[in-house]
Amino acid sequence: MRLSPDGQRNRWRDPSKQEHNEGKDVSNNAVIYISVCVVLSAVSFFLDREKTIAGFKKGWNMFKNVLPPFLNILVLVSLLIYLIPPSVISQYLGAGSGVLGFSIAALVGSITLIPGFISYPIAAGLIQQGASYAVVATFMTTLMMVGVVTLPLEIKYFGRRVAITRNVLNFIAAVIIGLVVGLVL
């Protein structure tokens, strides 16, 4: 999620943070992923041509499946970046938001059921708009580890007591992870 080149919308920006964002630049990502991909493909192709093609097909199919929801979320994030001013994001989810920011992140993360791959563009957009790493990490970890919506299903598999205990423990762990990640970054 990068800022628009004209930069008009991005009134608020911490210079140090911007530098940090530029560090994991588009081209940087591309270089790493493409080189790993090329090296692995070459080794794989050398070892077994058919297996490699089967792998390509699998990967391509997975990509095709995630593409429509992914594009939809990119549309949504682009609109929200325009509509929600960074000042609002940093007020409620920024470094100074304190307990409120964590509570919002943990609550939304626990309750909603957003597929992981879709949640990352949202997380990156939030950070770009001034949310703190700790708050975003809490949102991501609760999203991954706690499932309120899927709790009925989980109860069917493990029973009420076990499912609830697992979710409570995971909630505590997720908040700890968010706090520590925020301290480290």
Binding site: M1, R2, S4, K24, V26, S27, N29, A30, Y33, I34, C37, S44, T52, G55, F56, K58, G59, W60, M62, V66, P68, P69, F70, N72, L74, V75, V77, S78, L79, Y82, L113, G116, F117, Y120, A123, Y133, V136, M140, T141, M144, M145, G147, T150, L153, E154, Y157, F158, G159, V162, T165, R166, L169, N170, A173, I176, I177, V180, V181, V184, L185
Partner: protein
């Protein structure tokens, strides 16, 4: 008719958005053009690494034999057992509720309570496709920090659950 609708449904928002872009450029609607620029940049960002990530995941899928790991689950105990379930979890994809049937399979194969919950923990936060996307969007420092803090915590949860359920006739139910 309904079938047709089902087929285009994933693309409806994109079509509306395309019309919006067209409108913005024809009528020089500045906010629309700004949103388009942001969208264009995020598409470029996405297209430069996600397809390659999925090819890597596809190659992993054909080379790392999940079935062979599964065969050893339940027989191995101690650290080796933990490493095996974490490895198996990392090779999966999809949402957490997709892990419950696998948890049942692990239970049937005789995996310990501890390892079943370590599997769920690893599944929720260490899946390779997910890590790849996370690194791309939030940076390697973020992923590394999150992973290193998560790992001991969900292994701890595994031990805690085992201790808590020791005398409580824990079982995983199959859903038909």
């Amino acid at each position: 008719m309904k079938n047709n609708f089902q087929r285009i449904r994933p693309y409806i928002w994109l079509m509306i958005f395309a019309v919006f872009i067209l409108f913005s450029f024809v009528f020089q609607f500045q906010p629309g053009k700004t949103v388009t620029t942001t969208f264009k940049n995020s598409i470029i960002e996405m297209i430069t690494f996600i397809p390659f990530l999925f090819i890597i995941v596809g190659l992993f899928d054909v080379w790392v034999p999940k079935e062979r790991i599964e065969r050893h689950i339940g027989q191995e105990s101690g650290v080796k057992g933990i490493v095996l379930v974490i490895l198996l979890a990392m090779l999966q994809a999809g949402p957490l509720y997709g892990a419950f049937p696998v948890a049942y399979m692990l239970y049937k194969k005789g995996a310990s309570i501890r390892n079943i919950f370590i599997y769920l923990g690893a599944f929720s936060s260490l899946k390779i496709p997910m890590l790849g996307i996370e690194i791309g969007y939030l940076g390697i420092e973020f992923s590394l920090a999150r992973t290193l803090v998560s790992l001991p915590l969900f292994i701890g949860i595994g031990y805690l659950m085992e201790w808590y359920l020791k005398e409580k006739h824990f079982k995983v139910n199959a859903l038909e």
